[in-house]
Amino acid sequence: MSKLVEIEVLEKDDKNMRLLIRGVDVPYMNALRRTVIAEVPCMAIDEIVVIENSSTFQDEVIAHRLGLIPLKTDLEGYNLPEECPCKSEFGCNLCRVTLALDVESKEKTRTVYSGELESENPSIIPVSDTIPIIKLAKEQKLKLEAYARLGKGKNHAKWQPVSMCTHKYFPKIEISCKKCDGCGKCVEICPRKVLAKTGNRIEIRDLMACTLCQDCVETCPQNPPAVKITWEENAFIFALESTCVLSPEKIMTEAIKILDGQLKDLERQIKVKKSEKD
């Protein structure tokens, strides 16, 4: 890829990000998408020690629910357990965070929320304080200690930093003024309302929304059709929705860093193999 890569931010808030990327090919886009999903690490509860549980749920069910709670992640402050210098099965304070939960229902039935988890590190906390963990009737108790670790999406979906990561082609719509008689059938059939009719002419209202479904082409009474849907070479719309464990731009930069590292690693291995042959 010698061409310059152009990136334009179409939309961005604390959770979602949509980018228009020009100058890359399909394999790179797909590699980036897969890296975001499977390789960018984030924090999740991995093991729990149950001290007391008199609730209606089994320990395993509670463990599973706790594991799925997204935790705000600090990638700089913690190591992946397999890369941590401590080499310990139990982890050290560089690769593990302990969270404690000690709840009891004294008066009447109540819900236990994720906000009641007490973390040893105040920056590693659930992204939302109002996720119900369990409901306890009077006299029921739950006391446990949970250990959160960094992990990757390829090992378990709870370590996925995104709930959606997609790329699609950048659409290109051509309407031939000569052939089009302005019947408006393509405007009616479009499920995403991409086209609009002004007077006797069909105009593009929202190009980005086009899904390349070709319905407008099929419905056009002209032969050959007056509207043509194609896509631009090497231009993509990349959309990402974070689970709030990391900011979308942090996920992106981290993914590019990881992908770069993997490519360098591959190159090195190829060179080693070549030199073995000689």
Binding site: T56, I69, T109
Partner: protein
């Protein structure tokens, strides 16, 4: 039993939105409008809340009843 923490399909966090959803729908709002309002766009996440039944409330009633009887016992 209890509302799942995440959407089964995409992994979006939905557990924290259940109580608001349930209360607003009970108050008479249209379920679809509430979902739009909560920012739940995809149909995989929407069905998580739409089709959920909080069975744990029914189960906990047995425990509440047992507790009441224990208290009512004279000895």
């Amino acid at each position: 039993m209890i509302i799942p923490v995440r959407c089964f399909t995409c992994g979006k966090l939905i557990g924290d939105k259940w109580e608001e959803f349930a209360n607003r729908v009970k108050a008479g709002e249209k379920a679809g409008d509430v979902l739009d309002n909560l920012g739940i766009k995809r149909y995989c996440c929407r069905r998580m809340l739409l089709s959920h039944v909080e069975i744990i409330d029914e189960i906990l009633r047995f425990y509440e009843e047992a507790e009441k009887r224990k208290e009512a016992r004279p000895y």
